[in-house]
Subunit: 402 residues, 2 copies
């Protein structure tokens, strides 16, 4: 029997406790041993819970108990999650987390502490909720030369964009609907401004390259500026708009970005709708593979957390442990990022646009001028648009194409 | 350094040799050791290949070489693949295969031989080509109670169906196009009659249940009877037609089937087009997850084979080894299979259809009568249609809905 402690008895912690209880037969068969939830750390008491007697308020009880070999950190936030994780790993206890914030900020430190103390640090639930994507990337894809990892990494924004496409709703209407359904927070900034997706592409980039980029080194845009008109124009040319996290590996270095992208309807990522998440990995010789599923929710997240636990129980450190270095060395300047761009402008003629941007593919020339540019670097297109706006044009929208 | 032997230097064997050579840096980093291709078994010689000096024609050379710890069987077909696999496992050598035919027929025997002799038997490439799906199902999903595993398991038929939907082409025209492009064999029966998909759903069912069903116990239909008209009617109601392998787990037992199904355009499987494959796993509490990618081809298949090798090198048998029993115990009679059905009939009135099948959803009543039934068991619908045909109706088509 192995004894575990769960830090945080909230939605995810409750989901983990439920899974370990309800599916104890398959869990112990797969893990090769029975699992006992010895402690649940929380500030609150839960007198009506079947786990009431396991609830403790002092982390030191868990830390000093040599019977606890694995700590499941599902409290969220950076502190005290960081301190508890460090202490547990130094005590040789393995740590599993669903907390993308600490993985993106301190994953390098945790992985090297784990290596030093013969423990494991696992975080399948930190990206894509229940979708097995981190472990497959580590275990089953690393024999390939990766070219790109990209994904729909945030269910809230994908729900909002899906709503805008399905019902022609505005961003504000769709956000309100997402809030009413509990898919978006009262303060939705971490989702709609791309912060959450940025943490996740940071983690995926580290898996692909071994480099844990500072999150603020990644160019990050949210979806708040997307208009009804942009949706109509995208549909007209057979595309969707999706908030993507992308890590592109080139001979010159790494491009990492979070931003809304227009993506063709025949691309598998374009078909991911509602609160679902998906991660697409492109490499040689595997081609492109995609992992799809529920990116959040107690049950799905618990499945990923318990999956990590099973693997620690079976294989321990014989699993391919990642090793990360915190650095932005090799990260290319976003000014070099090249793409075709959808642009909508007002107060400008087609010939002025052609003069500034060369050949374009026109989408609309009634009211505003909407079009797709050729492949341009960020610095090239920014400069051209600045010229046009200086000459009197108004920029209504710009979205890059995948 | 570990020494491996590749049985069969065809498309897949060549892909494996290329991957191990071209990506030797990431391969040895992930596997934790260098890999040497000591032998390539083939009937032919390859004087111009860089591996010419490793080619042997006698399996006994490999079998009796104690330095070879892992045998990669990518020759295809049942014999001598079966005999070589048994001999290698009995000698304590691990075996990796891409050969779905032997896994579906003898996987139970190979897994127990592997357990007995402390070796590993792995077959990630046998389902879904390069897509990591078998290992994730074993390692990262088994903590869930599975409800269904279903997939687009054959790229040839998916290409043909995609062509029929995109261009309104007939089955015959689409098959010819697939043959011209090398996606279909001259004799396409194993693909278009569902035999290949049946082997793959047999393997997925064994992973989900521990039971390796005899392939001939699984109700299998191909796509040869699908008409242009069926495609038009499916489009009219917002559906695609896909050849699915399905394993449904109920309290009463297992339903396993390979057949064309109509599936809503908002279902992720409906968006899988061309030669791509995808497997969707539905369980509690994970919800539904889908794995998508290239279901065939030298590179993708080699990625899966080498992924298995990496895992054997790192974790050996500490990985969750499956254990299968060959049995059809618990497999439900297909007569009990329940679904809504799309039906197209000629020479019958709407009131006769209502009398025989109850309430229906009418798709078309000009020329033939096309409609969707309520949920009926196979025995119920077969009986009703027999009554109608006895009374003079002609059945033009019937396709179940997911």
């Amino acid at each position: 029997m192995i004894n575990v402690a769960i830090l945080g008895f909230g939605v995810v912690g409750g989901g983990v406790a439920d899974l370990l209880t309800n599916n104890s037969d398959c869990v112990s068969r797969l893990g090769g041993d029975e699992i006992n939830i010895k402690y649940l750390l929380d500030l609150r008491d839960f007198p009506d819970s079947p786990f009431a007697d396991r609830v403790v308020h002092d982390f030191d009880i868990i830390l000093s108990d040599p019977e606890v070999s694995c700590v499941i950190e599902v409290m969220g936030g950076s502190h005290p999650a960081y301190e508890y994780t460090v202490a547990a790993l130094k005590a040789g206890k393995s740590v599993i987390t669903s907390n993308k914030e600490v993985v993106a900020a301190f994953g390098d430190e945790f992985l090297s502490l784990a290596a030093e103390h013969g423990a494991c640090y696992r975080f399948e639930a930190a990206v894509g909720g229940g979708i097995p994507v981190i472990s497959p990337m580590i275990s089953f894809i690393g024999q390939n030369r990766l070219r790109e990892v990209r994904g729909i990494l945030n269910g809230t924004t994908n729900y909002i964009l899906t709503k805008m496409f399905s019902y022609g709703a505005s961003f504000e209407e769709s956000l309100k609907d997402a809030q009413d359904r509990g898919y978006a927070e009262r303060n939705p900034d971490a989702d709609v401004l791309g912060t959450d997706a940025c943490r996740k592409i940071t983690i995926l980039t580290a898996l692909a390259t071994g480099k844990l980029l500072p999150t603020d080194s990644i160019h990050t845009e949210g979806i708040t500026a997307i208009r009804k008109e942009d949706v109509i124009f995208a549909e007209k040319i057979g595309m969707k708009i999706k908030l993507l996290g992308r890590c592109i590996l080139t001979d010159n270095g790494i491009q990492a970005v979070v931003a809304p992208f227009m993506i063709h309807n025949d691309s598998p990522l374009s078909t991911v709708s509602g609160v679902y998440n998906a991660v697409e990995v492109i490499g040689d010789p595997i081609g492109n593979v995609m992992f799809y599923g529920q990116g959040a929710g107690a049950g799905a997240t618990a499945s990923a957390v318990v999956g990590d636990l099973m693997q620690i129980m079976r294989s321990g450190r014989s699993y391919a442990e990642p090793c990360w270095t915190k650095t932005d060395d090799g990260l290319l300047d976003f000014a070099c990022f090249e793409a075709r761009n959808y642009v909508a402008l007002d107060g400008v003629t087609l010939s002025e646009v052609n003069a500034a941007l060369g050949e374009i593919q026109l989408i609309c020339d009634e009211g505003e001028l909407a079009f797709i540019t050729g492949v341009l670097s960020e610095s090239e297109i920014s400069e051209a648009i600045e010229k046009l706006t200086t000459a009197g044009a108004t920029i209504k929208s710009r979205i890059r194409l995948v």
